[in-house]
Amino acid sequence: MVSQRAGQKRKVVEVPRPDPEEEEDVLENGDIDDAFEEEGESEDDISEEDDDEDDFDGIASQDEGEELDSDEIPSSDEEAAKPVNGKSGKRATTPPHQLMGSETAVEVATLSPETPVRRLEYGLEKPEINVSYRIAEDANGNPRYIYNEIEPNYDSDDSAPETTNTIGNIPLSYYDEFPHIGYDINGRRIARPAKGEALDSLLDSIDIPEGWTGLTDPSTGKPLQLSSEELEVLKKLTRNEAPGDGYDPYPDMVEYFTGKGMEMTMPLSAAPEPKRRFVPSMHEHKRVMKMVKAIKEGRIKPFRERTEEDREREEQQQEYASYDIWSNEVPRPDHVMNIPAPKLPPPGYEESYHPPPEYLPDKREREEWEKQDEEDRDTAFLPEDHSALRKVPGYAKFVMEKFERCLDLYLAPRVRRSKLNIDPESLLPKLPDPNELRPFPSFCAAIYRGHEGRVRSVAIDPEGRYAASGGDDGTVRVWELLTGRQLWRIRLASDEAVNVVSWRPGHDACILAACCGETVYFILPQGELSNPELESQSREVLDAGFGHAASNPSKTADGKDKTPSAAWSRPPTSQQDRGILLTLTLRSTAKTLVWHRRGDYFSTVCPGTSTHTSTAIAIHTLSKHQTQHPFKKLKGLAQSVSFHPTKPHFFVATRQRIRIYDLQQQKLEKELQPGARWISSLSLHPLGSNLLVSSYDKRLLWHDLDLGSTPYKTLRYHSKAIRAVKFHPTLPLFADSSDDGTVQVFHGKVVGDGLENATVVPLKVLKGHKVRGELGVLDVEWHPREAWCVSAGADGTIRLWM
């Protein structure tokens, strides 16, 4: 703010002075200064701000100002004579009309030296000019001084309190009979103040003027008025708050540092006044000159008030486009983060003023819409019908809707969303055509009834004509497959259930093996299905072993007779007549019986916990009546076994693991980890490369033996434990049965070359079996050639599905 200070300094010079005399007067008169002090200060702010704007004026006039320097000297003397108070000095520079905002200011401004009386009004003591009296002759011829009326204004020098008592120290009652009280300086009577009538006094009491006390001043007879300060004093007096006698409110100043005998012999600093205090600043001068140059060159435009024309031109520019902004357009490359505002969708039929009648809401819809919260409605309006255009009212929510659109435009976050506008069907995986998947069983073709209690096992003979079943009632029954007619039955035991029935594979004989309790029975079914030729062949097959066993008794390594773990024997003749030709007694109950493909070997599993693990699994040779226990010690409890269709491999399922053994080399080939808790059954694909494992924990696991030890697919479509699973011997089908009473049929196509993964397609849920005592379908078996299957249910029925 250097420049501003410079401006202030300069102002001393350029203040217009109407009359040097008067200026002096003003300066000398401290009283006036005091009187103006308060007003002047408030004005200062404005004048300062004016300075800001008038900067340039000040600077511009400075050049001329410098020439005037010599003239200034007397005034600067005057300045030195003044008190060095900066504030008062500054005030002195402001012209009087700026100091006063009142009428007097105007009067002062128009003052001229020819009006001495007016000067008197100013109250300045100048006896040689200001004559306040005129001389007249009195009756005696003596001169008499008649004084002018003194205007009692606030700035008169008569600051001493005016004595209003004109009667002297006498009681007022002396004047009671006169209409006046005392005399003024000219000897005129001073009229007695009008005594208020009753009405007047009432009025006075009604609107009480300020300071009204209701008392009369005993010395003047006027109503006594007290100012608030006086009242305060009175109040203090009554409260006894007045200071004591010795209190002096205006004590003399004790001069500690100045005054007599205290004068400083030295100033505070002895340094001489520096030169820069007296020389104009070169730095400021440089800056000023720079600005001057800029103004001359037109770089700085001095402020110019806008004319009407300018304003009009600007308005025009604001109002009308006057040029083409797209005259040279350069398209901006699209950017991911630039998301244009989405357009509003075009109106639909329901927005029409006269829509088709089906778009109009009926009463129920209308009520529902009105009941809904405004935010939940899917349309903001209800369709309305107006029979003519003139009947269409204004849309009440128009402004609101537009406002909301505005809010959306600048407040709503924008996100790019790719909207899938495709047929949902195309998302579904491509599956083989259902026609390609045929045939598969889809309905129940026959129901075989007869078993009492659960049917535990079911088997279809290699020819595909009969089905054999065994159940809780201890009977084995043979049914005609298609009709469900019972052809033959035999009761093996009355107290034990038939756990497994299984036909010996091969077309040369017709032998049915059934496990009931600890015994395995080999049966030639009699009745309708017996055929003399087939029967003799079957007898040969079963009897061949007797000779072999007799000629080669089994020996242990040290030559002793081995204690046979299983006993092969001929049943009594009564049973032989009924078709049981051979029995094999094991040490415990066999739950699984699996034939080798050729029909010479079979394996039994006794999963009971009571049996020793080494004897749980046995492989029997029918032609030699021989029983072997291949595993000395088995990890885990055996559940099920299976022969590989082509290789000499043997699959053993314990509760959680499946191990594949090579029987020839007598070693472990592979171990699978299906991840099931309790395996119930397993089935090997006819090609031998894929294995299905069912478990009681509701899972069906598809193992691709080429892939690894974990399942290729885990299927979980059952709500209850899965009891059995079977591959179809020839078709790409498999089925599983579960305790939820359903049989599920899948398409499972395995390609031989191993290049392609197996395709598994769910085909059909066969429902029909009832759930009895938490058990549903216990076994399922495929027809050797057709896409038919039979299932054994806990409800005592067997169903044929085709």
């Binding site: 404005i46 806008r306 109002e319 009308y320 486009a321 040029y323 083409d324 902004i325 797209w326 357009e329 350069v330 983060m337 244009p340 505002a341 509003l344 075009p346 109106p347 039929y349 927005e351 029409s352 003023y353 006269h354 829509p355 009648p357 089906e358 778009y359 309006f381 309305e384 029979s387 003519a388 255009l389 003139r390 269409v392 204004g394 849309y395 128009f398 402004v399 609101m400 809707e401 537009k402 406002f403 659109r405 505005c406 435009l409 600048y410 407040l411 709503a412 976050p413 924008r414 899938l420 495709i422 949902p424 998302l427 579904l428 995986p429 599956l431 309905f443 298609l482 429902k767 029909g768």
Partner: protein, 693 residues
């Protein structure tokens, strides 16, 4: 080992700023920040929910995030400096006003208040003209709204006047260039669509009523923040100004056109703006457009049309669009043939609609002279007629003497009069000779009388003609007639959706049959429609017959016992399965089924013994249960389909399955909606037919 990186210093965290962070960065008050965002088109973003938490460092979740680069870009905006300057000046003025220094305050306001120019922002936001056209929808809707509201302290009259002027200029351009394509009367207002340089611009114009909601004193009046709306309008006026400039100059017309303020105040609307050509030829063109008296050919055409007998509107309608000689020559070469796909399954190729054609637009109403009755909304109809080629539009000038009306009501040249009043019968002349009464009668007669040879239509006719691209039959739109439904021209019916323009029967074959079934159910509640019922039964019988014949053919030569039982099983399987699916039936069910099949064979055998046609008996025995069987069969088919889908769904991954289910859900909702509409339509039709009987 490098320095451990501080959390939240790179990556998505730096890409976004919360609103308060942005405001702090720009050092602006929130209001100014809003203004700036509106002007610059900066909008919040939605960062992924994962990074949201990382961006806002505070515990409370922030809701608004801005793209950091957007804010960076705002930092360099010249408006920012102006806003700050303005803020400082406003403080100064407020101070002066506090002191009661009015002169200073007003001087500062007048001289020093920065005027914001938004030109550079328009250019920045829309680098090319096409970009600007693309974003014109909201701008036009907003300006039309502001052009039609009364002024308030929030909305100064100068702003309203500017909006009004800009919209009129825009309309003049559309009239001149024939680029208006479609229009639609909705309950909200009138929609218009124009196509300029390939960009479809759709905007909404409110009806001429005092806008209610949102004003102070109204319900919800304080919900509308007029400052925000004004900020938008400020930008939009600038934008439309430049767009108009470009369009006008490209069309060879001087911009700004002369705007007659006085006429505008009198309600002259379109007539208040006078175009001026940039050179002589343009000027001539404009004048030729306006001076239509000399258009003899069109007048002759109009006369010819008038001379046609009035009771042959269909004939006239077919002639009318091709009436103009030039159009008859050009039309065959220019218009596209309509391709109808034969196979509904095949792909349909999109074709431009007939209205998207400038030649149609410029000649649709060309040969006619219109008169708008006093009760019709003059401005929209005048605009629409003129935009579609009509040059001679007259209206009632008794209320305001605004210029531009082509003729008065009793002019003989008028071909069409647009009327929107009920069709009242002419009153009989008064019996007395009272002059006053006679005068009143005369006036009434004049109102109600029809000038012979003139076509009287309701306003909707204009809109329907425009949307169809051809003239519609005027007799459907006669005064007092029940108007055909007014349909939105923008709805493109997708497959499976309801299309009100197509009769119900043609909509969807399979679904219609299904619907008929429903109808029977409905009918049983109330009245029954005989014809439908009969049809249904007949059809079912027929199907039954066909089935049986097939059975017979199969049976021939096969083992009777086996094959018969087989077939029966097949036939009965569905009915058997149905209860199985629902579960909870007793085990006797199977027995019943077996009985059923046995009975069937029994019947056939008996019939053969009697020598009668087995089918007849079978049909007769079945007729009572035929509908249920039919329904069961249909439900079986449906269920099978459902099963199939479920099967395939089982093979999908969980994510895909979810998407699939979502889509299925939305499709189902759409279908449900369409189905509801169809059902309603059917009900309405039925009510109408029964009413007719």
């Amino acid at each position: 080992m490098g320095r451990i990186k501080k959390k939240g210093t790179s990556g998505a965290t730096n890409n976004y700023l919360t609103r308060s962070q942005a405001v702090r960065k720009l050092q602006l008050p929130l209001g100014d920040f809003r203004r700036l965002c509106i002007f610059k088109g900066v909008y919040p973003r939605d960062p992924s929910s994962r990074s949201k938490k990382r961006i806002s460092k505070s515990a409370t979740p922030s809701t608004t995030f801005y793209y950091a680069k957007d804010i960076q870009y705002l930092l360099h905006e010249p408006l920012l400096a102006q806003l700050r300057e303005k803020k400082a000046l406003e403080k100064k003025i407020a101070k002066a006003l506090g002191r009661g220094d009015l002169t200073d305050a007003s001087r500062w306001e007048r001289e020093h208040m920065p005027r914001m120019r938004l030109d550079h922002i328009v250019k920045e936001r829309y680098p090319t003209f096409v970009d600007a056209l693309r974003d014109l929808d909201d701008a036009l809707s907003m300006l039309y709204l502001f052009a039609s509201i009364p002024s308030t302290p929030d909305v100064p009259p100068s702003l309203i006047a500017r909006c009004h002027r800009l919209t009129l200029e825009w309309e003049h351009y559309l009239i001149r260039s024939n680029t208006l394509r479609k229009s639609f009367l909705s309950i909200k207002g009138i929609y218009y669509q124009a196509t300029i340089q390939g960009q479809d611009i759709l905007w909404l114009v409110p009806y001429k009523f005092v806008m209610g909601a949102g004003r102070t004193g109204d319900a919800g009046g304080d919900l509308v923040d007029w400052r925000i709306m004004r900020t938008f309008v400020e930008f939009y006026t600038t934008l439309l100004g430049f767009v108009n400039f470009r369009l006008f100059t490209a069309a060879g017309v001087v911009y700004p056109p002369k705007f007659d303020v006085e006429a505008g105040e009198k309600g002259a609307e379109l007539g208040a703006v006078k175009l001026e050509g940039r050179d002589a030829s343009e000027q001539e063109r404009i004048e030729s457009r306006e001076d239509v008296e000399g258009n003899e050919r069109a007048q002759a055409e109009a006369d010819r049309l008038l001379s046609l007998p009035a009771d042959e509107p269909s004939d006239e309608q077919s002639d009318a669009p091709n009436g103009d000689l030039t159009t008859t020559e050009d039309a065959p070469t220019q218009t596209l043939d309509e391709f109808q796909s034969v196979d509904p399954q095949a792909d349909t190729l999109l074709q431009p609609s007939p209205t998207a054609d400038a030649s149609v637009a410029s000649h649709l109403f060309e040969p006619f002279t219109f008169f708008l009755s006093r009760e019709t909304p003059r401005h929209p109809i005048e605009f629409l007629l003129k935009a579609f080629g009509c040059k001679r539009v007259g209206w009632d000038t008794t209320l305001g003497s605004d210029p531009g009306s082509y003729c008065s009501e009793d002019d003989a040249r008028i071909t069409h009069q647009i009327v929107d009043r009920p069709d009242l019968p002419l009153p009989s002349p008064p019996a007395t000779d009272d002059d006053e009464e006679a005068g009143a009668w005369e006036a009434r007669k004049k109102l109600l009388e029809r000038v012979p040879g003139r076509i009287y239509v309701q306003p909707q006719w204009v809109w329907d003609c425009v949307n169809a691209g051809v003239l519609q039959r005027p007799d459907l739109y006669a005064p007092g007639a029940t108007l055909p439904p007014h349909l939105s021209p923008w709805v493109k019916v997708k497959r499976g959706e309801y299309d009100p323009t197509v009769p119900l029967a043609e909509q969807n074959g399979a679904e219609v049959i299904e619907d008929d079934d429903e109808e029977i159910e409905e009918g049983s509640e109330g009245e029954e429609v005989d014809g439908v019922r009969g049809d249904e039964e007949a059809r079912e019988l027929e199907e039954e017959l066909v089935d049986d014949e097939e059975e017979e053919a199969d049976d021939g030569g096969m083992d009777i016992e086996l094959a018969g039982s087989d077939d029966d099983e097949e036939n009965e399987a569905p009915t058997k399965q149905a209860p199985d699916d629902w579960a909870g039936f007793s085990g006797d069910e199977e027995d019943a089924d077996v009985d059923d099949s046995a009975r069937q064979t029994q019947l056939e055998l008996e019939a053969e013994a009697l020598g009668r046609n087995a089918d007849e008996i079978a049909a007769a025995s079945k007729s009572s249960t035929s509908t249920e069987a039919k329904r069961a069969a249909r439900s079986r088919a449906e269920r099978e389909k459902q099963e199939e889908v479920e099967r395939r769904k089982g093979m999908m991954s969980r994510k895909k399955r979810k998407i699939f289910e979502k889509m299925e859900f939305s499709n189902a909702r759409r279908d449900e909606k369409a189905e509801g509409l169809r059902a309603k339509k059917r009900r309405i039709e039925k009510a109408a037919s029964s009413g007719a009987k």
